[in-house]
């Protein structure tokens, strides 16, 4: 069971979203490619002469040529209908001397709901923020629906500026002799921004725009980013507010909303942008206990609609009830990723047991 230490290893989506055979094939691909983090816990896969980090999936790398041409990679090249919505490999993040993420691998399948739990300071939120580029990744690869927003590539000076573009195949060739010589590919801000639009994020502190009404908050992205006309934006905005049960609050400023209402507006604001994947960073942690339920209810609705979600949460019951997979993080690493049944009742790692005893 030691290979279970790496997320994306064994467990496909419990809901079986991508068809009957999909989870299996997805898992196999994920585990084989995923393990080679130099500092990561070395499972059986890691010992089999791991390719250099970032070049783990040769098919993927070969197809990932020019950033603009990358759309083909996710759908066209990887045939599996359950190709990961998010694929993170060897994720490292340091703030100065403090290493917060020490080589995290994570795959999220379409329609899958992943709950991330762990003690505070374990890097859960940082990992989530790295996935949507709110934090610049120190090292590692993050792909959103096959399109990289960060990529670790092999090669030192000799690849130089030419590494981007046609160098994809060469990366693999160079990787074997010098597996440690890697660097981060430069991906332009605008490209990253465009690729991250597949993702939505909901914050612990809502971060509503205080100078705009509930509706104003929801339509802001529609007007400015999606460039809808005012009337289209309002129509969709009202629909979104209705979806979270706040149609009657459309002209109210955030200062006059309760915490639960604020968070629901924040969710509506994000949903209006029609993301494929929603990231939730402790969405109920700043709420009074009696307001938690209304926010969780909205998230449950999303689950019913097969929204792909990654939720950092301290609500153990929520994680257990709703998620397809629970990821336990500690000290910047994923300790175990398993189905909720497994992780909550019979975790492999004693640290998880100790943590759960404190939480439950």
């Amino acid at each position: 069971m030691s290979d279970q230490h790496v997320a994306g290893g064994g467990h496909g989506p419990a809901g079986g979203v991508g068809g009957a055979d999909a989870p299996g094939s997805y898992s196999a691909g994920g585990a084989g490619a995923g393990v080679p983090g130099p500092e990561g816990p070395a499972g059986p896969h890691g010992a089999t002469g791991a390719p250099a980090p970032g070049s783990g999936d040769p098919r993927g790398q070969a197809a990932a040529s020019e950033p603009a041409a990358a759309p083909a990679q996710g759908n066209g090249d990887t045939r599996s209908p359950a190709a990961p919505m998010i694929r993170a490999r060897n994720l490292h993040k340091s703030f100065g001397d403090l290493e917060v993420l020490k080589g995290v691998d994570l795959d999220v399948a379409p329609g899958e709901i992943v709950a991330i739990i762990g003690p505070s300071g374990s890097g859960k939120s940082t990992m989530l923020r790295c996935l949507i580029h709110l934090e610049e990744i120190t090292r590692g690869t993050v792909e959103i629906e096959g399109q990289a927003i960060a990529r670790e590539i092999a090669g030192g000076a000799e690849l130089g500026a030419g590494a981007r573009g046609r160098a994809g195949s060469r990366v693999v060739a160079h990787a074997a002799p010098a597996p440690t010589a890697t660097r981060q590919e430069h991906i332009p801000e605008a490209v990253i921004r465009r690729r991250c639009r597949k993702l939505g994020m909901v914050f612990q502190n809502f971060n509503l725009f205080p100078h705009k009404t509930a509706l104003g908050n929801v339509i802001e992205g529609l007007l400015v980013v999606a460039k809808l006309s005012k009337s289209e934006a309002i129509a969709r905005g009202e629909k979104m507010l209705a979806r979270v049960g706040l149609a009657d609050k459309r002209d109210v400023y955030p200062a006059y909303l309760s915490g639960g209402q604020k968070q629901r507006v924040a969710i509506a604001r994000m949903l209006a942008m029609e993301p494929d994947i929603m990231l939730f960073d402790e969405p109920t942690s700043a709420l009074d206990p009696e307001l938690v339920g209304e926010v969780l209810a909205v998230i449950k609705d999303l689950a019913r609609e097969q929204m792909t979600m990654v939720v950092v949460t301290h609500e153990m019951s929520f994680a257990r009830e709703l998620s397809d997979r629970v990821v336990f993080m500690d000290e910047g690493r994923i300790v175990e990723a398993a189905s909720p049944e497994k992780l909550f009742t019979n975790p492999d790692h004693p640290r998880i047991k100790a943590f759960l005893e404190k939480m439950l």
Binding site: L199, G200, M201, F203, N207, F209, H211, V225, Y253, A255
Partner: protein
Amino acid sequence: MEYLIDTTTYILQGAGVTVRLFVLTLVFSLPLGFLGAVGKVSRRKSLSVTLGLYTSVVRGTPLLLQLFFVYYGLPLLIPVLRFDRFTAAVVTFIINYAAYFVEIFRGGIQSIERGQYEAAKVLGMNYRQTMVRIVLPQTLKRVLPPVSNEAITLVKDTALVVVLGIGEILRNSKEVVSRDFTITPFVIAGVIYLTLNYGLVWVFGRLERRYQVYE
């Protein structure tokens, strides 16, 4: 009584100059200050360093000295920059007040929480959109009180241009004082300044209340 009216009328003629100087200064220095603040928080190091130098020099030296420098000093250094008195005063005031506004707006921009930038970012906004749509509107509300302070100070600072012999409120009243040996004109001047500032406070109060709707 007639004397009082005559004197007041004469001083009020000076008030016209004062108000003109005041309005011109605000109209130019506010937007300049705003742009300067955006430049100062930008990631371009050269820009923020240059602007930092500008604000520390201008805020670190007396306005009176700057007036003398622009009117008497500049033409010696660069002959093209020979201004008439009023223009020299306006130019000096704009340069001076813009420096203060740069720092006020910079403080306002930096007081906006990081979460606002992050929320804008996850919605897909770029830096410019984030500034224009999210950060600057909130900044405006926050800087109203210090800007109102500056505006009040500006009304009073206009009296400094008396040293260039511009006929504004203070100079006109001083003329009458030395002609008639009475301090009444000074009292009248004081009342006019007070009235101007009272109007300003009222305007800014209205503005602040209008922005209060969302908090």
